[in-house]
Amino acid sequence: MASVSSATAAGPVRVSSLGAAPGEGRVIGPVEGQLRLVGPGLGVLRIAPGSAEVAVLMAALDPPVAAPPRSRAAVGVEVVVEGWRFELEVEDAARASLRDRASRERGGKGHGGATELRAIIPGRIVAVAVAPGDNVVPGQQLLVIEAMKMQNELRAPRAGVIARVIVGPGQTVDLGDLLVEIG
């Protein structure tokens, strides 16, 4: 695991999914368990002395693929357990809650909460059904992304007015690319 650097102090940590909303995640402390590294990126996890072991695959997420890290102090780790892949961020719990408080105070008098819709899969835009200024209702189709020959419809998560349409038909988008903004 030489590739995973340690930026957190020993102590309670908060683990959150990469790209999760601020304040989400779980605080773990004390961090009990044993992680034996048996090869590059391959660990054996034991949650308590004498318990069964679980094989885990790990890799550093650097740079994180879907979103910039929320904090320089956070470590991005990819963990695969039983075939399930998790992209996680680990940071010092105290520092994380301090930052949350700061961002809450900033957010109080901030912007009016535009909803940014991002690509959840990479692919090609085949149709755009809305234009800036359009009123949309929840569930209304906004655009269609084709990936691996399947057409995936992106629908409005809430009612609102389209503020921006960032992409056009024929354009290739990557995971996490901004597509549409609902005001």
Binding site: M1, A2, V4, S6, A7, T8, A10, G11, P12, V13, V15, R26, V27, I28, G29, P30, V31, E32, G33, Q34, L35, L37, G41, L42, G43, V44, I47, S51, A52, V54, A55, V56, L57, A59, V77, E78, V79, V80, V81, E82, G83, W84, R85, F86, L88, A93, A94, A96, S97, L98, D100, I121, R124, V126, A127, A147, M148, K149, Q151, L175
Partner: protein, 540 residues
């Protein structure tokens, strides 16, 4: 356009023994990518034939390009600009002196116009003739042909259901007589593409429009038709081979009931639980449907089975099937090699005839899972990305067909299939045990795959009992819950990895909470969290 390729191996076409029959062809262009291109190139080498790969820019350094004797670039990544360019592929075959083109599955495999163009260029098309593809590849024509041969078909329309203003009322009447829910299917379709499920009449027009658009994009043909949805049912298909002398045989059947979005996830051969009579019945129906259109080369007839000997014809896929490998394991045949010999005009091989005679009493059992870049906790949506670690299983009774490698980018432009993991054994339980063991050996990072689904499905008591249906995934798979079970362990591993750990040194990590730190939530012990999450089964 032509890649430099590798130098021809001197004497690579020399027969190993003087008794070895001449290779069916000199040089074969493989008009596909991924695992199937590699599979076909291997058959070429086994038969002492040279192979020519084609590739898009996304695949310039892919395994199939490196494996072939020569390689020709087709264009940018989108299929329409590369693997679907019929003229460019035929030209590549001519320029490389190829005397045969194998289309694999997908892409141009069932495009009659392509087969016609290949035939017209004086090159052998390794598959049914263009005329047969037109008759079988058009699912509507195939339904009509099957009915004419007295093979029962799934109730539905026999003509295209075109979305035209003056036809809406007629379509709605037809739909009502078929009954809801029904399926809108692409006449040129397959693999669930261009397909929509419709529960209510008012949703029919939008479903028709969506299916037409997807079918046009995927196949270049927007014709769709309506078919009753038969549920629950098992999906059973019959492998067919035919020569130019009118002989068509069935080489056993496969059960492909475990599907998601009409895409197969697990396949096995023979179909579990069928009586010998039922197997003979479905083999006979398949041969009848195929013979009615004069099938040559290889094809697969698909049926829905609702029990008690009732089979409903779905369609014939006029090509090599993704899951052909399990039939190979059970019969000992090399179906791709058989295709080459048949395409060269040879009669059905003795081995194929023998396999057909024993098709209802086969010995041994094979099961396959399709490992795909899809998220089984998110409705199996494609999950392209870059492969990190890539370790495939091996050992007794295991065959893995793949072209993926560590560091590969899985492009969003193509089918998400990464690997076909197959297990063979003397009986079903042996094959199953081997496949479960094999999947425990799989290690993939960087992309989410369908591995967790396969591990869970193969361990499910219903699967062990052979109790499978096309509703299996919807009824018995809760992907989000399965994923949640493992989240606490993943988080613990991440926390332990992030806390100072000297690299490589086996050591215990244990920390205690700081006093008085302003924590957002009450921390909990990890053992308790993991146990409460229901983590009881440990892979090792």
């Amino acid at each position: 356009m032509r890649a430099t390729g590798k130098p021809r191996r001197p004497g690579s076409r020399t027969s190993l023994h003087k008794d070895t029959p001449a290779p069916p062809f000199v040089r074969v262009l493989v008009a596909n990518r991924g695992e199937i291109a590699l599979r076909i190139i291997r058959a070429c080498r086994d038969l002492q034939m040279e192979s020519v790969a084609v590739y898009s820019d996304a695949d310039a350094s892919a395994a199939h390009v490196r494996a072939a004797d020569d390689a020709v670039r087709l264009g940018p990544a989108p299929p329409a600009e590369s693997y679907l360019r019929m003229d460019a592929i035929v030209r590549a075959a001519q320029e490389t002196g190829s005397d045969a083109i194998h289309p694999g599955y997908g892409f141009l495999a069932e495009r009659a116009a392509f087969a016609r163009m290949v035939e017209g260029a004086g090159i052998a098309f390794v598959g049914p003739s263009s005329g047969v593809i037109a008759a079988l590849g058009d699912k509507l024509a195939a339904r009509r042909a099957a009915l004419a041969a007295e093979v029962p078909v799934v109730p539905g329309t026999l003509e295209p259901a075109a979305l035209q203003p003056d036809r809406i009322d007629g379509l709605l009447r037809e739909a009502a007589s078929i009954g809801f829910p029904l399926l809108v299917k692409a006449a040129a379709g397959g693999g669930g593409r261009g397909m929509r499920r419709v529960e209510r009449a008012e949703d029919l027009p939008s479903a028709l429009a969506a299916a037409e658009a997807e079918a046009t994009s995927a196949f270049g043909d927007g014709a769709v038709y309506l078919e009753r949805e038969i549920r629950p049912a098992r999906h059973i298909e019959v492998q067919l081979l035919g020569d130019r002398y009118g002989k068509v045989v069935a080489i056993g059947e496969r059960d492909c009931s475990i599907q998601r979005r009409h895409q197969k996830l697990i396949e096995e051969s023979p179909a579990p639980g069928l009586t010998r009579d039922e197997r003979l019945t479905v083999h006979d129906l398949a041969v009848r449907a195929a013979r009615s259109v004069g099938l040559t080369n290889a094809a697969t007839a698909e049926f829905l089975y609702t029990g008690k000997g009732r089979f409903y014809f779905l369609e014939v896929n006029a090509r090599l099937q993704v899951e052909h490998g399990i039939t190979e394991l059970v019969t000992g045949l090399d179906l791709v090699a058989e295709q080459f010999r048949l395409a060269a005009g040879r009669p059905l091989s003795e081995a194929a005839v023998r396999a057909a005679e024993n098709a209802a009493t086969s010995i041994g059992h094979a099961i396959e899972v399709r490992l795909s870049a899809e998220d089984p906790s998110g409705d199996f949506v494609p999950a392209p990305g870059r492969v990190g670690r890539w370790r495939m299983p091996a050992g007794p009774g295991i065959r893995v067909d793949t072209a993926a490698e560590a560091g590969d980018r899985v492009p969003p432009d193509y089918d998400p299939l990464l690997a076909k993991v197959m297990a063979h054994g003397a009986d079903r339980s042996t094959a199953l045990a081997r496949l479960i063991r094999a999947l425990d050996e799989v290690e993939v990072t960087g992309i989410q795959t369908t591995l967790p689904f396969h591990r869970a499905a193969l361990r499910h008591p219903c699967f062990h009992a052979g109790d499978v249906s096309t509703d299996w995934v919807a009824d018995r798979w809760d992907g989000p819950a399965e994923r949640r079970r493992w989240q606490p362990l993943a988080e613990l591993a991440a926390a332990l990895a992030a806390i100072e750990t000297p690299p490589g040194a086996p050591q215990s990590v244990s920390t205690t909470p700081e006093k008085g730190s302003g924590r957002a939530a009450e921390p909990r012990g990890w053992r308790r969290t993991a146990l409460e999450a229901g983590v009881e089964r440990w892979p090792r």
